[in-house]
Structures are given as structure tokens and as C-alpha cells.
Amino acid sequence: MTIKVIVKGKVQGIALVAKNPMNFLGAVDKKTGKIRDEKHDLFGKSLAEKILVFPYGVGSSVGAYTIYSIKSNKCAPQAMICLKVDLTTASGCALANIPLVLASKDEYDFIKDGAKIILDAENGKIL
């Protein structure tokens, strides 16, 4: 198996692929779910309803509360796919009940921005 499940769930949606790591506390507007960091490659884009694909999370652990906030404000991604695990993203997705998986490098590179994908984070599959 090449997918490791961190938070379970099953969703389908459109992939939003970030090249840069995510700093949830600094870079995400918790009311709108939009990326507000001008230096981020997803600047101005909304995370709402997407399957957010990014290498890993960085920055303050308080960013986990930001993930919870965007979920409460109904502008959170449906799921997240990362290359490397970090405890802020893991804690935040767990609090907010957003499925989170780790993909292997091959699997990760295969996901194209804008592609429609089905994420089965019960059995660890990306289709």
C-alpha cells in the first residue's frame, strides 16, 4: 500500500495542487478559506470543497485551529493529500474531521491540478 491514512473518510472532488508547503495560520483566511499569502503559489484561490494537495504543513501548531475554523465556516477542503506528515496538519484535520492521507512520491506526482479524484481514506486508495 502506498497511501497512509491519517484521518479516515471517503470523498470525491477536484484536486487543488500547491507547490509550496502550507502555513495554515499565516496563509489562509479563516473566514473565506482563501489563500492570502501573496508569496504562495495558490494566492487568491479558495480551498473550499477542493481536495487540497500539498507537500507538507509548516509554521505554528496553532494553524490546527485555523483548519478547524475554515471547516466551521464551511470553506474547508473536502480532504487533504500530503507527501510528508506534520503534526499541525494531522491535528487540524482530526479536529475538523477532514480526511487526510499521505501519498508516496509516485502517487503524489501523478495527481494533476484540476483533476477529478476519488479519495478513499477508509481503505487508502486514490482513484
Binding site: 491519517i6 490546527a64 485555523t66 466551521s72 506528515v85 494531522a90 491535528s91 482530526a94 474531521n97
Partner: protein
Amino acid sequence: MDLTKDEEAALKGEQGETLALAYRVLVAIGEATNADHLLPVEWAHLSGINYNTIGDAGEEFLAKLSKDAKFKIKTTVNPMGFDFDTVARYDLDDEFITKQESIKNSYEKMGAIQSFSCIPYEIFDLPKIGTHVSFAESNAAIYANSISKLKTNKEGAFSALASALTGKSPFSDLRKDETRDPNLTIRMKADKKDELAFGLLGYYSGKVAGSSIAISGISELDRRSCKSLCAGMGTSGACGMFTLGDAKGETIDFDKKEMQKTHDELNTADSGDIITLGSPQLGLDEISDLAGMLEGRSFKKRCMVFCPRAIQEQSRKFGYAKEIERAGGEVLYDCCICLTPLIDKKNVDGVITNSVKGAYYLRTSNGVDVNLKSLSQIIKEETK
């Protein structure tokens, strides 16, 4: 991860959303740290109490969670931003006070002991050796593992909160005996052996260590120096434990030159306009020492002394607080140097402290310059 039937059911929400959330956090962190199961813990010590650390999102989350959540095990909490008895003396904005009060109330409602202290190992009775606890405050986790012989990872705010709600923690890292065995040694070669020297040693060690590190070249360590070592180590890295005595694995020397380099990294000023003592918060012996050192002397500058509420009450009873106040000091409780809104760059340029941890956060979070020197030097230079 292997879960028991009960844990699996709770994760699925059969015992309500609060427990489902708590188990999701434990499983997510367990999967991320390669734990294969959960194990019971007896005591959780929580961080994320100060409004300055968790902000609006944290305050809102806790207000919602506390509507029906109850802590399952003994739960103590870190310092807040200020103490409510003396806050009126300081020029804090109302929003900060209201939000801090909401956070305090949320934890109280869930059943936390109102300790507001970063030294739970000094003010509570300790469980027996080898007991698993879940401590989110870094200096407390290191002290618990290294001195109190308890077992904890250097927990985060969320893993400790989930432990408080469930009485469980993932079996990973320092909970496993093989990880507790260090494979790297720092040899203390510097002659200076006051609390500042040990704070710098801790800060240096934390940077190079993995989960656990051996420290050699130290014959004895008093409580003040030990707390300073733990706090320094907790500030600079992920290391959650040290052993004293025999060298293990490769040895790195911490000599006079390295100590000076570490000091230069943290010290940004030659003096300051305010003195702060107490990160970690001072215990009763430290307060009594301080009162003794101040006999017949007075601070030339404003001095803030931070301790837990329980220690403040005792030091008032024994007259130590009165002696510190006579010398011009202020005794504050329920809060500490780190991230307190009481030290603001709007009215303070530089802060004098003997705390390596305090120095780090004063500079990075409060945005003020820091003059880092030992307590004896502070008494010599800053009192008359």
C-alpha cells in the same frame, strides 16, 4: 494502529462527537508517529491557555468544545497571559481580557485544575515512577522524563487535550524504553556552572539532540539550574529527555567558546529597562533565595517575578513576597514571561532576564531586546 473495540466505537462517534474528535486526534498523531496502539495516561498538562498563543480560532474552538466535554483524568493547565487579580493595574485592552476569561472558563468547565503553571512537577504530588503522563509544556515534559522518572512525549496542545478527554495517548517515541536510551552525549566543559550556564547548555543540547540525550561532566544540579536546563532544551528543539552521568554514543563538548556563541545568539542588548524572573515560574525555594539575596538592597529598575498562584500564597505567608515588594519587585502569578501581553514593545525597549527560554520568546514573540545574565549578576548590577 490497533484499537480496542471500545476505542473503535468511540472513534466512530458512538459515544458522542467530543470523544470521536479526541480519538481522531490520538489516531492521527499515532499514525503520524508510528504508534501501534494507545495506552492509558494518568495526568494531562495542557498548553494553549494564553490568548496570545491560541488566538480567536482557539478561543472559539474551546468555547464550543466545553459545551459538553469533560476531562477524564487529572488535568492541569499552563500559565495564562496575566492574573485576573492584578490585571486592572496594567494597560491591557478589553478584548484581550474578555477572550482570556472565555478561555479560562472553558477549561474550568471541562474540569481542569486551575493551576496556570508551567511547573506542575514542583507544585503537585507526583505519581509513582514509570507512570505515563501527557505533558504539553516542554520544560515540564523534559523535567518529568529526566528527573521525576515519569514517561511522556513532548506533547503538543492537541495531543495533551485529547489525552485529557480520553485518558489515552499513542504509544510512540519516549513512551518506548528503547527510545529513552540516548545515543549522543553533550559533555559540559565550561567552568561556569550557574543557572544561566545550564540554560545555555540546554538550549545547545536541544538543537543537536534527537528524542533523548546524555549529559556528562556535571556532578550536581540544583533545582534552579535543572529547571533552566529543561527550559532551554525545550525551547530549541524536539528533544524530550536527558540523562545525567555516563556518556552514551558519540560525545560533543560544550565548552566556554560554544557557551559564548550560544549566549551571543540570544543576548541582543547590554542592559534593559525592566527585569523579569521566572521562566519557568519560580518555586518556593527560589523565591525564598531571591528574598534573601535582596536583603538590604533595592531594584534600580522595575522587576517582575513570576510564580504559580499556590507559591505566591505560601511566599506571602512566609514573608518572602513582602521582602521582594519592599525591594521594588512585583510578584505575579497565573502567568509567566513567555508571551505575556504585560511586556509590550510599545512601552519596553529591552528586558533583563536570567532565563534562556524567556530570552527566546521575549525576542521572537514580544519583539523586545534582551539582556541575558545570571541571577547573581542581575542582583549585583541592577540593585543597590
